[in-house]
Subunit: 331 residues, 2 copies
DNA sequence: CTGAAAGCGCTTACAG
DNA sequence: CTGAAAGCGCTTACAG
């Protein structure tokens, strides 16, 4: 193994000089620089990253925890997070929690063990048993997309309330007043805020959301599918649905297809997220776009800021917008 | 900072004992075990992973390089790779090459710098300028999905030839003989093998593939779209297309839609990959499924094997299967 | 099992 | 800039 002392020896300079030069903490005069560069080339020296990490106290690694990186929205976040981390000299390690609190706690432990410098956390449930304490204690976490209530950490959320308003506006504009809201579990910030904005905008036009048409279950295709079937067989029947996520919307689409209900002719549909395949659906899905890349990018930036001692109670909002395609029809 | 020597001191045992106990290299008698466990709990000791890594010479990290982890097929690979790595005590770092050879070489360098123990490489081009040498030199790489010719490394590929045969069989069974092949660049193993199997099966039924209907460009939606438009305006017109990837198939679908060509009524279509949204398309896409999870899982296993000194010229094939949905019609 | 210590290969004060 | 060295917190022979 050729180490930094070998470079120092053959270049005739000090270990400290070589180290500082390689880390850009010093500017050498040309001759010294050349001697060191030559020695590095001659010896084929490669700095040992692990040694640097131990000595400097940084793992040069950031973590990203999602339920499963395979989901398109999370994959897009990971891609942007990797780019941003890499631009700042960090590598990105990904962790799948499979929506298990136990696994989440285990992943959070990686911070304490110095396996990663900090962690971007994306949870998908309200029952957080101990998560909040761990997060606050570590001080090296940022929360994105969903909240862990009670935790002290910077947050990057979508502008959910505005998204709810946009969905309501679109449906109202097309003449709908009998509207269902199908979404994930009550208590999640994405559900509550979107619903609040939705109701708020509806009420501005004097439209009341029927309690029986608020269906909160979980963020899954299956839930969308079964809920649609239920809703269309028992009254009151809506003329439009606002789905809290595109995968729920897909479930609704499938359920409608098998029930012989035409979208958008018999039922209008607005989703949330704007996953990549939304425009390929039949009909192409009208939806509220969240900028997944912004979550990844801003998540990493917020994490880097808090690691440098920045404030932990920032809350940033990622903008949303209405993408009109073909799943909403005039009533 | 509480270190292992503090645990040794308060538990009244030796540093070596604590270390070996924590790493499971030793079984202690109950009293000793309890004293150490108590000390760890009392002090809130957390082993410093970076120190362990330096001393033991393993970064406990595996890398996965794709052009962009955001693509569904790669995201699925990453998910399975993370699960498999995690089960073996490794973390998974992801790297996006953006299809740049320069970036690929930089990522490969992480192995030399001991930043990662090994790397799973997924490239997407034939021009490999220097990649093969780097890979062979490192000896800590496995190639998945696509080849880097000339490199010495274990490989995990799809059974592309068989996939080509399955596609041909499906189309022949539906009476098609004027068939186009639209795929990525010539020279890529996925293209050549799929084409070879396709042609082979066609010829078994006495069907000749028209040279003018072999269109190799790149693995993109745009290429599928423009190629379809070209092909349908100039003769000879095919009655079916075998697309080398689902994203190309999506491009063909879009192109057909805007040209007023009905799929499958006017044109049958078979894809390759089976990305998650294939069944949501209109019509649902008939395709050759590659098991993305198998790539991730087997890639990690092959990497772990080669890191333990295993042979570097294994080549493993991931099975493929025909998924019949709605994009192929009887002629 | 214990105890004392070398070693992993860096970074970083420190005195010059 | 140099030189010599402590320190990061582990693992791992080694002698007992």
């Amino acid at each position: 193994m050729v180490g930094i002392r070998d470079v120092a020896k053959t270049s005739g300079s000090a270990v400290a000089t070589v180290s500082r030069y390689l880390n850009g903490q010093i500017t050498l005069r040309p001759e010294t620089k050349k001697r060191i560069d030559d020695a590095i080339a001659e010896l084929g020296y490669q700095p040992n990253v692990m040694a640097r990490r131990l000595a400097s106290g940084s793992s040069e690694t950031l973590g990203l925890m999602t339920t499963d990186i395979e989901y398109p929205f999370f994959a897009a976040i990971a891609s942007a997070a990797e780019a941003e981390a890499s631009a700042s000299g960090y590598q990105l390690a990904v962790f799948n929690s499979r929506n298990s609190t136990e696994k989440e706690l285990e992943i959070l432990h990686a911070v304490e063990r110095r396996q990663i410098d900090g962690l971007i956390v994306l949870t998908n449930h309200t029952d957080t048993g101990g998560l909040a304490e761990q997060i606050t204690k570590s001080g090296k976490v940022v929360l994105i997309d969903e909240d862990v209530s009670g935790a002290t950490a910077p947050r990057v959320f979508a502008d959910n309330r505005h998204g709810g308003r946009l969905a309501a506006e679109c449906l109202l504009r097309h003449g709908h007043t009998e509207i269902a809201f199908v979404s994930g579990p009550r208590g999640m910030i994405s559900v509550e805020e979107r619903l609040a904005g939705f109701v708020e905008r509806l009420e501005e036009d004097g439209v009341e959301l029927n309690e029986a048409l608020i269906r909160c279950g979980d963020y899954s295709e299956a839930f969308g599918s079964t809920t649609l079937t239920e809703m269309m067989s028992a009254g009151p029947r809506p003329t439009a649905v606002f789905a809290g996520a595109d995968n729920i919307a897909v479930g609704i689409l499938k359920g409608a297809r098998s029930a012989g209900i035409g979208v958008p002719d018999d039922l209008s549909l607005v989703g949330f997220d704007d996953v990549s395949y939304g425009e390929l659906l039949d009909p192409p899905l009208t939806t509220i776009r969240q900028d997944a890349h912004a979550f990844g990018r801003e998540g990493v930036r917020a994490l880097l800021r808090v690691l440098e001692g920045g404030s932990a109670d920032e809350i940033e909002r990622v903008r949303v917008e209405l993408i009109e395609r073909g799943s909403v029809a005039q009533l």
